[in-house]
Subunit: 112 residues, 2 copies
């Protein structure tokens, strides 16, 4: 499976989720990330996800959504799943989440 | 220095750059990434950058820009810098670049 999400015609939405893991319960963090990704793929309007994490525990996950309705539906599901788990553990030292409308895209390299 | 970019009031622009390193010339790739980030920080309208790379060579870098003019000026600078170097090396097996307008954001966790 490619690590790249597909490129449907813009506009579509991106949710940029940056996290710094606390370092406690790395296995729990990994399971949670998998659960969230698995839930995302089953949502209506889900377009794709890209995720990577450095050895310092700083991770960026970008999920892509067809429209705002899909985004809001996903938000409710993700918050519910997180709320169920976050009381028990503390994976994130800090996170930021940005909702952005993708206007255009490119890929490459060309000609290879 | 925090790995997180600051959160100015939306709207502002995000450039989501996902890359799969080819595995050839990892040192050259690292230098190039540093050069590009260094150039970005000196551009007008630069707001911040977040970047992480997994052990599989898949990397996500998100840079943030005040407005479309800042974005376009940065595009010209980045393309020039890349064009000078890309003839000599082949860091990226594949890349995607998405330009997105950040509409809102959140951070947390709350209450800690």
């Amino acid at each position: 499976m490619s690590a790249f999400a597909p490129l449907p015609d813009p506009p579509y939405y991106a949710v940029i989720f940056a996290t710094q893991a606390s370092g406690t319960d790395a296995a729990g963090y990994g399971r949670m990330a998998e659960t969230i990704e698995d839930l995302a793929t089953r949502q209506p309007g889900y377009l794709g996800i890209e995720s990577t994490r450095g050895t310092d525990g700083f991770a960026i996950t970008v999920s892509y959504w067809a429209d705002e309705a899909a985004l809001l539906a996903w938000k409710a599901v993700a918050e519910h799943a997180l709320a169920q788990k976050l009381g028990k553990s503390r994976w994130y030292k800090h996170y930021t989440l940005r909702v952005a409308l993708v206007e255009r895209h490119y890929d490459g390299p060309e000609g290879r």
